[in-house]
Amino acid sequence: MNSSFWRLPLLTFCSLVLLWQAAVVLFKVPDYLLPSPVEIAILIPARTRDLLRALLVTGGEALGGFLLSAVVGIAVGLFFAISTVIRRCLYPYVVLLQTIPIIAISPLILLWLGNGSLSVLFISFLISVPAVVANTTQGLISVETNLLNLFRMGNASIAAVLFKLRLPHALPHIFVGLKIAAGASVVGALVGETFAGSSALGAGGLGYNSIYALSQLATPYLFALILTSSLLGLLFFLLVTTLERVMVGRWHESVLGDRMD
């Protein structure tokens, strides 16, 4: 990506920030309603330690939830691909899990796992796992008939079909699922914390701190937390796209451009 790609978006960003600053100063908006960009920019270095600690707490929970959903999601997808019976029995419930607002069952999770990071991690996992299962399954079972016939002609074993054909074919699909899961796991951790964040003052993650900042009307800090949360989401997204580039970048159409004729 060249520098001209970023020029216009950056210009948009700067204009919006300037507009925001001007509006706050011009209309004398009180900072507990809408702090100015300058105010937030001054606050961030002053509270870097708090923000970083919150980032690490939430980041840890989200990473745990994400990794768990990756491992469990891909494993379940493999089972679904191997056995049509298992898939028919359980797949509808994976879809159903996607439709249940996790917020609605988070009190139950609190009841069973107690207050704290474990509950948050589990909520993060529940929110992110259906996308991995659905996309992995879809990728594994959508192999072209002729490729399957090719493997049958070679008398390939079930393991060979799975590891030499289905799994590599499913990789781009799996990464679609992982990208959704990466975003969802951060959302899950943030939302989870508003329910189950640590009760110790100031020790919680970004979600818990947000609730706390709100109750104090510390709006500039709330904005700093929002920025930090966005950073966390971005980090997760970069993590997955980098992994994708390494694993399927060489061959997949979405990444590869040049053709030889």
Binding site: E144, N146, L147, N149, L150, F151, R152, M153, G154, N155, A156, A160, K164, L165, P168, H169, L171, V248, R250, W251, H252, E253, L256, D258, R259, M260, D261
Partner: protein, 268 residues
């Protein structure tokens, strides 16, 4: 070069005197009782013979190839390849599909290698074989490219290389060049014949193109539809050494016209 024996026009008495390599007897196939696909289909082919199946869409040509490959069960009748049933004969056959059926995550060389991995060949043997078969189809230089980077004609050559890597005795080809432009199709037809001169496999070739069938075949089977059946066999009595110039010769053009007329007769 072909031997004089191979170049001789085939007559039925001739066919009986030589050992049969492929034998299909009274083969019927139906997906449901009221949906017959193939009805009492019989065909024999000698080793090294090139037989084309020509017919309208839905006459069961592709299904027939799948049955011979053991990829689809038959309802009744028998298929023997060198005395074996289809599943047992997989080791001596290769299938070339209508699309190149390449694995996009493997390089060209690794795609060709796949067929050899199935055979359980050692890594060094595989590498040598891949190299020789790729240069055979004129792709010696593109082994490290990915399929996505190749043109349609090159992809089809890779597919052919993979099929030939295991030195099959029977090659099943299901409209392999149908998606290519006419020029590329002609070129690959010529290359296919040249390769066959060297490796001498038996071919069953499904196509929609009359000219392609005439150019390639020793024998053409005209098939009728609903249900699929043999309507007519035509021996192609053209010189054995066939090159691009054959396509403009009167004998070739005459035969293409003849086959076209017969095919139109079946449709009516």
């Amino acid at each position: 070069m072909r031997t004089i024996d191979e170049a001789r026009p085939r007559e039925s008495a001739d066919a009986l005197s030589e050992p049969t390599f492929l034998s299909i007897a009274n083969l019927s196939k139906a997906y449901a009782a009221d949906r017959p696909v193939l009805h009492e289909f019989s065909l024999t082919a000698k080793a090294g013979e090139f037989v084309s199946l020509l017919g309208v869409s839905g006459c069961g040509k592709s299904t027939l190839l799948k049955i011979i490959a053991g990829l689809s069960p038959l309802s009744s009748g028998s298929v023997r390849i060198a005395g074996m049933n289809p599943e047992a004969a997989r080791e001596i056959m290769s299938f070339v599909f209508q699309d190149p059926a390449l694995l996009p995550w493997r390089t060209v060389a690794r795609n060709v290698e796949l067929a050899l991995e199935f055979e359980g060949l050692s890594r060094s043997l595989r590498a040598a074989r891949v190299e020789s078969v790729l240069s055979l189809v004129g792709l010696g230089a593109v082994g490290r490219y990915y399929p996505r980077q190749l043109s349609g004609g090159m992809k089809m050559r890779v597919s052919l290389a993979r099929a030939l890597a295991t030195t099959p005795r029977l090659l099943l080809m299901d409209e392999p060049f149908a998606a290519l432009d006419a020029m590329m199709r002609n070129r690959l037809n010529e290359e296919l014949l040249a390769l066959k001169e060297q490796q001498r496999w038996t071919t069953l070739f499904v196509t929609h193109s009359i000219a392609e069938a005439v150019f390639l075949s020793d024998r053409i089977i005209l098939m009728g539809a609903n249900p699929g059946r043999v309507c007519e066999e035509i021996a192609v009595q053209l010189p054995a050494a066939r090159t691009a110039s054959l396509r403009s010769e009167p004998a070739f053009l005459h035969l293409v016209g003849q086959v076209g007329k017969r095919l139109a007769g079946i449709r009516a």
